[in-house]
Symmetry: C2
Subunit: 267 residues, 2 copies
């Protein structure tokens, strides 16, 4: 397959950005989209895909199928792909949790789970940008082969290999826990804090609380055990902090926390 | 006092910005500073003060004394002011907690506690800016009189009146709790999360964790009961969230949290 065909199912922020990024990186094969007609039209106008249609129309043409839908839709699509796939086609995805998706995809001949750790507050193909994945981790649960890996590198992603279980435990800590803490804090302060004492610190701690539950429903539903474990671990740390406030030791914790906060920031 | 003299004790970010803001707002009286000689030199060069010296040299000349030092230094300074104050002089401050400061200042003839809810990550008079207080709350625990209040309005602060107890309970929720949650989260994730799965959400939730304990030592030490109460309240909310993850109800919490997060943001 010298000029492979890629089908992107779900041409929103992630799917659209993937199309734009591939074109910008020099991909000359066809980019097909599967989405609602209005979305396909916008995606074609933006140059994120060349043409679009239904799963039944697009999938049989594709050498690579990239599922960039919400998790619950990815799970549904996986169930429909089997009879449509071209022999040897690679199927991969962008779902924010991996265990359940990889489990469901076990019947597909060639599936590798993926999760680009990129995004922004605005959704939809209107917000897609070719640089969305540049410098950001792209987690893979297996080996999609040299050609696809090479393209991920060309669009600037940093490939990280994790098992589905490792991935879900990691993002429970690095993404799902922070979201729930922000939501918890904002819900707690309702009716107790007004603009009179709200400063920039509270703004940064409630930025994630601006997220809609629609974006989180599937994530929370498909990673419950790991998130529950992360919340339980945080509750233990919170107890320690309460003890240190009373009896000392917060200085050491501040030093450790500061080092961590620095370590995860882009250099 | 047609052209009053103001003495600023502690000419750092807040004290320096106050001097610059007063000048920019048209204040024509003298601005005196009390700080280390090197700091005074920089503050004079920046135009934040006209002259500087020791407490014993500066305070007797001042109609208004503005204490913009760390809390523990404010508490010390209050103990030294009595014999130095000009009759009728107003003393006010910028300390981040108010109960203990107002208690200690009870012996001064005319003291009103203050707390400008402004700041930024960089400290020191080098980072001072005339617009630091614009649009930000400036909490007062009493009435400093029409003249001083008028100047606060001219520098763009939004005056908020709270008792010291109300203030400390409010900032425990709006500022001290968010700081400790950020520090707790960052300390928890040490060794568990690397750059492989750290995204922008984790960055915003660990921004406060970059703060140095030196800036927090006095705040935590002088507001322990209110902070302990805020942490206890958060622990209860966290338990509710853990229950909702298992049994449902997070959708409602997300809606409430989102409304709060929107409500505290500048329009």
């Amino acid at each position: 397959m010298s000029t492979p065909v890629i089908a992107i199912a779900g041409v929103g922020l992630i799917g659209g950005s993937f199309g734009l990024a591939m074109r910008a990186a020099g991909f000359t094969g066809r980019l097909l989209g599967v989405s609602r007609p209005a979305t396909l039209e916008k995606a074609i106008a933006r140059g994120a895909i060349d043409a679009g249609g239904t799963l039944a129309e697009m999938i049989p043409q594709a050498d690579v199928v990239f599922l960039a839908q919400p998790i619950s839709v990815i799970l549904e699509t996986i169930g429909q792909l089997g009879p449509l796939l071209k022999p040897g086609a690679l199927v991969t995805d962008a779902g924010s949790t991996k265990r359940l998706i990889v489990e469901r995809a076990a019947g597909l001949p060639r599936f590798v789970g993926g999760h680009p750790m990129a995004g922004k507050e605005q959704q939809g193909v209107e917000s897609a940008e070719e640089g969305l994945f540049r410098g950001r981790p792209w987690i893979l649960t297996g080996d999609p082969g040299a050609e696809f890996t090479g393209w991920l590198e060309k669009i600037g992603a940093r490939i990280v290999r994790l098992t589905p279980e490792e991935h879900d435990a990691q993002v429970a800590l690095s993404s799902h826990l922070p979201q729930l803490l922000s939501t918890a804090l904002a819900s707690q302060l309702t009716g107790q804090v007004g603009t009179g004492t709200a400063g920039p610190g509270l703004e940064s701690m409630t930025r994630l609380a601006l997220s809609s539950h629609d974006l989180w429903r599937d994530i929370l539903a498909t990673n419950r055990p790991a998130i529950a474990a992360a919340l339980g671990q945080f509750a233990t740390v919170l107890d320690e902090v309460r003890g240190e406030l009373e009896h000392g030791g917060l200085d050491t914790r501040f030093v450790k926390a500061r080092e961590f906060a620095r370590s995860i920031r882009p250099k």
